[in-house]
């Protein structure tokens, strides 16, 4: 409901105080008005009593006057005279003498003679009837629509000869007299019942006021005694109704209404009420201001803290000024400490994130950030400065000194290349970002740097030689999606080392696309299905028989996008990823199929298939290969590179034994290129040994080669193996090999590897003309 603590507190306190004040003021008001009402009620009742007394007094006066008149001998004589004019004048005389409003006589026969000579009509008849039945009645008489206080007295002369009636108008004069006698300024009025409704005797009456007044009078006559509350359009009043006796009968047809406006009754208390309300309002204002100030003092530090926390969240400086010694003050202090600690930690984390912990040099991320910042600048170059044989050096001098070595190297760099940013790319490599004019200039600068960098370095007690290789990569060359410059520089180091150079600029063309190659493997199975991977066969020429009696099946992959893929590219990958198994299964099956097709064409040839060393120890493959070769319509040979069996020699040898046992020919491939072992030749039950083409190609160049080949041929023959020379490309080599007793020749001199269709053509020609290569 409240978003601010201060508002909440203020409203709560001021609200509570205000409610209390309201209750107090209300109580005071109620007490005062109840008291005022009570006072007015009792005053009204006193006023009623006064009126009673006044009424009695007037009655007595009237009576006295009437009786006096009735005793007057002359008057009695006048009555007896039956002369109405005399009677009237006598009545008028007495009326004036007594100072009353109306006097009239009623004869024994009901004749009414009024002092002013008028005809009283029905009013007079009613009074005549009343006096005849009541002898000497008194009360209110309605004459001519006005209320009169009337009293009748018999005329005795000495017996009853009639009545004399004195009537005094109940007008405002009389009411004023009553009002003056009262202790409070009440207002008195006489109401009489006219046509069933109570109406004031004189003066205009407002209907709005009439209804509640009538109801009040009816209620009062109906049994409610004492003063009561009368609500009219003019406001509330305390009122008292006194029924007045009627001269004509007991039923009250006239009432006296005493009224006292409540507002008037409350007037004396108005000042008191105003003071109470004034004090209340002043108190409320004070409470409001006080709670505001209090809550402000309480909540301001909280607000300040609140703001500070928000600032801290946004990572801004958030220090709170401590003002007090209370809990909030302590909280603020703690907050400051915390904020400071957080800031320190943050700086530390940022430093750690961007610095190498060992050397405290900017790390790769820092270099990357700088590169990102420099992305739009031309001629920015990245250099990767890799310590040669760092692992060995570190092994000798230890981690500490290795780190020191790099620090010193970085210092040297900083000296030589001011303005460059220097960081640590990886454990053995420093990175440097610098401005230059182009790759050539950069290369020149790198060579210049190398001279100072490779100066002997003093580390602790010892002096160490340092060798550094520098890879360079331009930043401007980088396009989106390409390799990051830092990687390129690192690759350039590798390229430089491969080229036995001290520094090199990254050569994208030479690097190729290793990532693309990796994706090849996932495409290999599809390629087999789609027929992109096929078999070519290269003839093996039997020198002694002077004919082609065997073929080596070689896999070829024509990639729809990348074109011809050399086996050197995808075979090692297939071996690494396990794809070699389905590839070999395919090659074996296809070789057997092709052998069958050649046989169908009338050529029965041995077919050699290269089996990866990885598969030799695989029992599944061994079973599958044995099963596949069952259906071969000729002899199948497995060419095994001697190094291949070294992984799991026991199992591989066992499998080779089984293959040999099943009639599969076993060839030792590429003999002489690896670390050829004699024990190896002894263990493997091979029937053929293939001399690596490196020896054959250089056969004519060196006597040493000739000797090695000759002795190898002799060794193989001694062990009962045939010898095949690979890479036979010249007649000269062919002649030498033939002279050495080599059994088979394979190479471009004979024929390149070719598809089955071409092989069949070749074999047809071969049959027609026996070849001579010597």
């Amino acid at each position: 409901m409240f978003r601010r603590l201060r508002t909440k507190l203020t409203v709560l306190y001021a609200g509570l105080f205000g409610a209390a004040l309201l209750v107090i003021s209300l109580s005071v008001y109620l007490a005062i008005s109840a008291n005022a009402e009570r006072v007015v009620k009792s005053e009204l009742e006193a006023g009623g009593a006064v009126f009673d007394r006044l009424w009695a007094l007037r009655s007595a006066q009237l009576q006295a006057a009437a009786e006096l008149l009735s005793r007057d001998f002359g008057f009695r004589e006048a009555v007896a005279s039956q002369d109405s004019a005399t009677l009237r004048s006598a009545l008028e005389n007495l009326r004036q003498r007594s100072g009353i409003d109306l006097a009239f006589s009623v004869g024994l026969d009901g004749t009414v003679t009024a002092s002013d000579g008028r005809d009283l009509g029905a009013d007079g008849a009613a009074i005549a009837q009343a006096v005849q039945s009541q002898d000497a009645p008194s009360g209110v008489a309605m004459i001519g629509g006005h209320a009169y206080q009337a009293i009748a007295t018999p005329i005795l002369s000495p017996t009853l000869t009639g009545w004399v009636v004195f009537a005094q108008r109940m007008d405002q004069r009389q009411m004023s007299a009553l009002e003056q006698l009262s202790a409070i300024p009440l207002s008195a009025s006489v109401l009489d019942r006219r046509a069933g409704a109570w109406a004031p005797d004189s003066g205009p009456s407002s209907p709005a006021e009439d209804r509640p007044v009538r109801a009040f009078v009816d209620r009062s006559l109906g049994g409610q005694t004492g003063a009561g509350r009368l609500e009219t359009a003019d406001g509330a009043a305390i009122a008292l109704v006194k029924p007045l006796p009627s001269i004509t009968g007991p039923a009250a047809s006239t009432v006296l209404l005493l009224r006292y406006p409540l507002a008037l009754a409350l007037a004396p208390y108005r000042l008191l009420l105003e003071i109470v309300v004034g004090i209340g309002l002043a108190g409320l204002a004070l409470a409001f201001a006080g709670s505001w100030a209090l809550s402000r003092s309480v909540t301001r530090p909280v607000s300040v803290l609140d703001d500070a926390v928000r600032r801290l969240q946004r990572g801004e400086a958030a220090r709170v000024t401590v003002e007090t010694n209370d809990e909030i003050g302590r909280l603020a202090e703690s907050f400051n400490q915390m904020a400071e600690a957080i800031g320190q930690r943050e700086r530390q984390i940022t430093h750690l994130a961007l610095h190498d912990s060992e050397t405290d040099l900017p790390n790769r991320r820092a270099l990357e950030q700088r590169l990102a910042a420099l992305a739009d600048e031309p001629h920015v170059m990245v250099a990767a400065l890799s310590l040669d044989r760092f692992a060995e050096v570190r092994g000798v001098i230890g981690y500490e000194l290795a780190a020191q070595l790099q620090r010193q190297l970085a210092e040297r760099l900083a000296d030589r290349a001011p303005g460059a940013m220097i960081g640590r790319l990886s454990s053995d490599t420093l990175g440097m970002i610098f401005h230059t004019t182009g790759p050539e200039a950069a290369l020149a600068e790198a060579h210049a740097l190398l001279r100072s960098l490779e100066a002997p370095m003093r580390l602790g007690e010892a002096t160490t030689d340092v060798a550094v290789t520098i890879g360079l990569s331009g930043v401007g060359q980088a396009r989106p999606g390409e390799r990051p410059p830092l990687i390129c520089a690192a690759i350039a180091v590798v390229q430089a080392r491969a080229a036995r150079q001290k520094a090199a600029v990254f050569d994208a063309a030479a690097y190729g696309d290793p990532a693309g190659n990796l994706s090849l493997m996932s495409q290999m199975l599809q390629a087999i299905e789609a027929g992109d991977i096929t078999l070519h066969h290269q003839p093996k020429y039997d020198i002694r028989a002077a004919r082609v009696g065997a073929l080596e099946a070689l896999v070829r992959w024509r990639h729809p996008v990348r074109g011809f893929l050399p086996p050197d590219l995808f075979i090692p990958l297939a071996e690494e990823t396990g794809h070699i198994r389905p590839l070999t299964d395919f090659v074996l099956a296809r070789a057997i199929d092709d052998q069958a097709r050649m046989r169908a064409a009338g050529h029965t040839l041995d077919v050699s298939v290269n089996i990866s060393g990885r598969l030799l120890s695989d029992p599944d493959f061994a079973e599958a290969a044995l099963a596949a070769t069952q259906r071969a319509e000729g002899r199948i040979w497995f060419e095994i590179t001697e190094t291949a069996v070294i992984d799991e020699p026991e199992r591989a040898l066992r499998h080779i034994e089984r293959f040999a046992g099943a009639g599969i020919g076993v060839s030792i491939d590429d003999y002489g290129s690896g670390l050829s072992s004699l024990a190896y030749l002894r263990e493997i039950r091979a029937e053929e040994l293939k001399i690596d083409k490196a020896f054959v190609l250089g056969l004519a160049d060196s006597r040493k080669n000739t000797l090695l080949v000759r002795s190898t041929i002799d060794l193989a023959h001694s062990l009962g193996m045939k010898v095949t020379a690979e890479g036979v490309e010249t007649h000269e080599a062919f002649a030498l090999l033939a002279g050495m007793g080599c059994d088979l020749a394979q190479g471009f001199l004979i024929e390149r590897p070719m598809p089955l269709k071409d092989v069949l053509t070749f074999l047809g020609e071969d049959r027609a003309a026996i070849r001579r290569y010597g």
Binding site: F73, R76, A136, L156, P158, T159
Partner: protein, 206 residues
């Protein structure tokens, strides 16, 4: 003179038509006798009327005495003042309006009542003094005594109208009228029931 007349009357009785006496007793509902009521029988008669009682209305002890006086038409009534104070006797009655202005002790006024009717008497000085003179034109008239009895002698026999009047009798004209069968000889007794109302007493002044 009076005695002589009475004697004459008695002597005449056998000569005239037969007549009887009427004895009336007036009581109220409680059987209490009502005194001072005037009983009259409007029977035919001849000759002057004379009553055996004096035609005299004295004022004594600030009262009229008697309270009710029956006199024949044309009678002269004496108004002797036996009190030490003066009285101012008056009557506004239609039968006889007169006024005897202040007269003193042992003074006597004489008023002739020449019309039948009731003449209320008052004293202008003393309101409490009230009396009635009943002027009749019949010899058959009597006033009830303390026992409520009135006897009228020698009333001609036959049914005769009897009227009982009292100033405070609760009846129209303060009178009860009935017919009484008068015997040829002897006495007829007639009981009459009546109620008196309280006289209008002059109230004390405030």
């Amino acid at each position: 003179m009076k005695q002589f007349a009475a004697l004459l009357l008695v002597l005449a009785l056998p000569l005239q038509a037969v007549a009887g006496d009427v004895a009336v007793v007036l009581r109220n509902g409680q059987g209490k006798p009502i005194a001072d009521a005037v009983v009259t029988i409007a029977a035919p008669h001849s000759g002057p009327i004379r009553f055996a009682w004096p035609y005299r209305m004295a004022q004594q002890n600030l009262q009229f005495d008697p309270f009710v006086l029956v006199v024949p038409v044309g009678a002269d009534v004496d108004f002797p003042n036996l009190d030490t104070v003066r009285h101012h006797v008056y009557s506004f009655s239609p039968a006889k309006t007169f006024e005897l202005k202040l007269y003193g002790r042992d003074e006597t006024r004489v008023v002739r009542f020449d019309k039948p009717g009731v003449v209320p008497l008052g004293c202008n000085i003393h309101d409490n003094m009230v009396a009635f003179i009943v002027v009749v034109d019949t010899p058959y008239a009597a006033k009830t005594d303390a026992a409520g009895q009135a006897v009228i002698h020698g009333v001609p026999a036959g049914p005769q109208p009897l009227r009982v009047w009292h100033p405070y009798l609760r009846a129209p004209g303060n009178a009860i009228t009935l017919t009484v069968a008068v015997p040829r000889d002897g006495v007829v007794r007639q009981a009459v029931a009546g109620e008196l109302r309280a006289p209008l007493e002059p109230r004390r002044m405030y």
